[in-house]
């Protein structure tokens, strides 16, 4: 009996929530993790997402249709993510953004069945960028393979234009995502004539003295590529610094270079020189961020504290911007009506052209085959007080990465 009442109550509340959305509202299902293992990311990324959506709404929404981003925190666990997805589906969401690699995997089949598109920027395997295999999943950001290729290119540029006879250390968090960079290194090593060795950092990665000692004193690497998560990036920075290794010769993947990591490593000066790969621009000098600040000022409130953490906050803005762009294209295709379906939004992704929000976004080229958008990255260096752009948006060894994707597809 109790169970019935619980369910009944849940049903009533759920329907009342669904009822608050009027016919013209466009609903986006937005998953988040503010308490689980990736809470550091979620607490800055999700506010960025909401702020951009609020900004669009404050300007009248998408052609007069209001956007509703319904956030559900799933604590980086799969069953709550499934529940969240079903909530979105019941609410009639036209776009869902799963958060976290296991959740992307758990939902990708359902999303295809239900024809609801979603994005997974920074999550999931490189193979998920294959638009023919996963027609409703859009990674929209550089995969770990593209990042690894860019990192090798960056090392090449930094080491004087050639990698012949050089040693690259790949230090990675010992989980599936951490190992993602390895196939690219394997492929590029004979081509570029460098040798590489892998150094695993098992979770939780709060201590890595032995690995750093090995890299700096025994292997004597010329360059370090770091694919780390959680607290591991800041630990790595401190350890490399204490070992006397120049931080200029380290490049970190996208989850290893946020303001939080740098602060935890002792601040900008302590981490100066470290290079980070980004798939959305970092720093505060973008017109869209100014608009958000103006929006807050107009409301008479202070800037949100999450805005200080631009690496993740901007990624939230980036995701929201791409979502809104896709939705806008879908609405346009329907002649301004907010009555769009997931399929319309999916087609909207292919129509995104020349949309960079003043450099916050890379020049994405999403096609039916390539949902990764081209694999663009930009490398920022840690300066004395903030990030300094080290390169422009670029991509490297694209043919090799595409070749790897084809090989992976064949193996399946």
């Amino acid at each position: 009996m109790r169970l019935l009442t619980t369910l009944g109550a849940a049903a009533i509340v759920a329907s009342s929530i669904a009822g608050t959305a009027s016919a013209k509202d466009i609903i986006i299902g937005m998953m988040c993790d503010r308490t689980g293992p990736t809470s550091v990311t979620g607490t800055a990324l999700c506010p960025g997402y909401h702020d951009y959506i609020n900004l669009v709404n404050s300007k009248g929404g998408v052609m007069g249709n209001k956007l509703v981003a319904h956030e559900i925190d799933h604590e980086y666990k799969v069953p709550p993510a499934v529940e969240a997805y079903q909530t979105y589906k019941a609410e009639g969401a036209v776009l869902v953004s799963p958060y976290g690699t296991p959740m992307v995997y758990a939902l990708v089949q359902k999303m295809r069945e239900d024809k609801i598109p979603g994005t997974s920027a920074g999550f999931g395997s490189a193979a998920a960028g294959n638009g023919e295999r996963y027609p409703y999943m859009f990674p929209i950001a550089a995969s770990y393979w593209s990042q690894a290729a860019a990192a090798v290119q960056f090392a090449k540029d930094k080491l004087g234009g050639s990698l012949k006879g050089k040693k690259i250390a790949y230090i990675y968090y010992d989980n599936p995502a951490g190992r993602e960079g390895l196939p690219v290194l394997e492929k590029l090593a004979p081509k570029e004539g460098f040798e590489y060795r892998e150094f695993a950092v098992p979770p939780p990665g709060i201590e890595m003295g032995p690995q750093v000692l090995d890299i700096t004193r025994r292997y004597r690497a010329d360059f370090v590529i770091a694919q780390l998560f959680g607290r591991a990036p800041s630990v790595a920075l401190k350890e490399f610094k204490r070992a006397g290794f120049p931080l200029e010769k380290i490049v970190g993947f996208v989850w290893a270079g946020s303001e939080g990591d740098i602060q935890a490593a002792g601040g900008w000066e302590a981490a100066e020189g470290y290079n980070t790969i980004q798939f959305a621009g970092v720093g505060s000098d973008y017109p869209v961020l100014q608009e958000i600040r103006d929006m807050y000022k107009a409301n008479g409130s202070e800037d949100p504290s999450a805005m200080k953490y631009t690496a993740y906050y901007n990624r939230g803005v980036f995701q929201a911007a791409v979502h809104v762009a896709a939705i806008e294209n879908a609405v346009k295709a329907k002649g301004g009506s907010g009555d769009i379906t997931g399929e319309n939004v999916r087609d909207g992704f292919y129509e995104i052209k020349d949309f960079t929000l003043g450099g916050l976004l890379p020049p994405l080229e999403i096609t039916r085959q390539d949902h990764e958008g081209g694999g663009w990255v930009r490398i920022f260096k840690v300066g004395k007080t903030g990030y300094v752009a080290e390169t422009d948006w670029f991509r490297a060894f694209r043919p090799e990465v595409v070749e790897l994707l084809a090989e992976e597809e064949k193996a399946k």
């Binding site: 503010r34 308490t35 293992p37 809470s39 550091v40 607490t43 800055a44 010992d174 060795r197 892998e198 150094f199 695993a200 950092v201 098992p202 979770p203 939780p204 709060i206 201590e207 003295g209 032995p210 690995q211 000692l213 090995d214 004193r217 025994r218 959680g230 607290r231 800041s234 630990v235 401190k238 350890e239 610094k241 204490r242 070992a243 006397g244 303001e259 939080g260 990591d261 602060q263 935890a264 490593a265 002792g266 601040g267 302590a270 504290s305 200080k308 953490y309």
Partner: protein, 298 residues
């Protein structure tokens, strides 16, 4: 660099790290020794202490380091007294699983409370310790590790002395042996329970500051608590000398596994090796190297 030299360096680093594991494990042992409670939230204690101190040091508060440390210490003491009174005391005499689950529940609370009050972003704890390596013959040390190892040794010795030589320490051992008998002998058992939790709080505070300065502070710092279990099983759940030896063994095994086994298995064995060692120990000598042999066999 020769393998031998590399091994000695790893060894040195392992010892230093191991002593810092000992410091965290010490809190666990203190509680078990006095109250027979198993604290699965020791890592979260370390985390919350780290969060409090790092928040006080951050520009938002801008406290000087000594004051931040002092407030952190006071906070941990008061918090743990309250904790003992509200959560643990009603559970005295309950099966061990109840206490384990209660501390797991506590871990949830702390993981939610810390970021709720002080924000979830990671922070640094900057101690006045230099960042460059100290080269010491063939050894190669991080200053923070040396300090950490030094602090650990001082505290481990201090607690060892406390338990062996002082009146309160002896009373605490009596409490651990039998609540009823010590109560009958006029020892205020509940007061000693509170004292044990306070001492665990003090140790957690030290662990939080040292580990926090190594890795930065956010909720992930709690994961250092998982290192406790191999340490205490190897050394013995209720032995202070065991904590030191267990910590050093775990530290050294981790370092050597990372340097010499990883390249052959293609994965990180650093956290895996101590757990395997622990399972072996449980099979051969469940009470550890220095623990009391109170294992019932059936």
């Amino acid at each position: 660099m020769s393998d031998f030299q590399f091994a000695t360096e790893l060894f040195g680093q392992g010892v230093a790290n191991g002593l810092m594991y000992s410091l965290v494990a010490l809190g666990f042992v203190l509680i078990y020794k006095a109250t027979d409670a198993i604290n699965f939230a020791q890592g979260e204690f370390v985390m919350i202490a780290g969060i409090v101190v790092s928040a006080l040091l951050s520009p938002a508060y801008g406290f000087p380091i000594w004051l931040a440390l002092f407030i952190g210490l006071a906070f941990m003491v008061i918090f743990n007294i309250a904790l003992e009174r509200v959560v643990l005391r009603p559970l005295i005499g309950r099966p061990i699983v109840s206490i384990i689950m209660a501390t797991i529940g506590l871990a949830f609370i702390l993981r939610g409370l810390g970021p709720m009050v002080f924000g979830a972003a990671p922070r640094a704890i900057k101690l006045p310790i230099p960042d460059f390596p100290i080269i010491f013959g063939p050894f190669f040390f991080n200053p923070i590790q040396l300090v950490g190892a030094g602090v650990s040794i001082v505290f481990l010795l201090g607690f060892g002395w406390f338990f062996m030589k002082t009146r309160k320490g002896v009373a605490m051992r009596a409490v651990a042996d039998s609540h009823q008998v010590s109560s009958a002998m006029g020892i205020n058992v509940e007061q000693y329970f509170a004292l044990a939790w306070v001492m665990a709080g003090v140790v957690a505070m030290l662990g939080g500051v040292l580990w926090g300065s190594m890795s930065g502070v956010d909720t992930q710092l709690a994961l250092v608590g998982l290192k406790v279990f191999p340490v205490v099983i190897l050394g013995g759940l209720d032995s202070i000398i065991g904590v030191v030896v267990g910590g050093i063994i775990v530290g050294v095994v981790e370092a050597l596994a990372s340097g010499f086994i990883d390249p052959y298995v293609g994965g990180g064995t650093k956290d895996f090796a101590p757990y395997v060692l622990m399972i072996l120990m449980l099979m051969i000598r469940p009470y550890g190297l220095f623990g009391r042999k109170l294992i019932e066999r059936i």
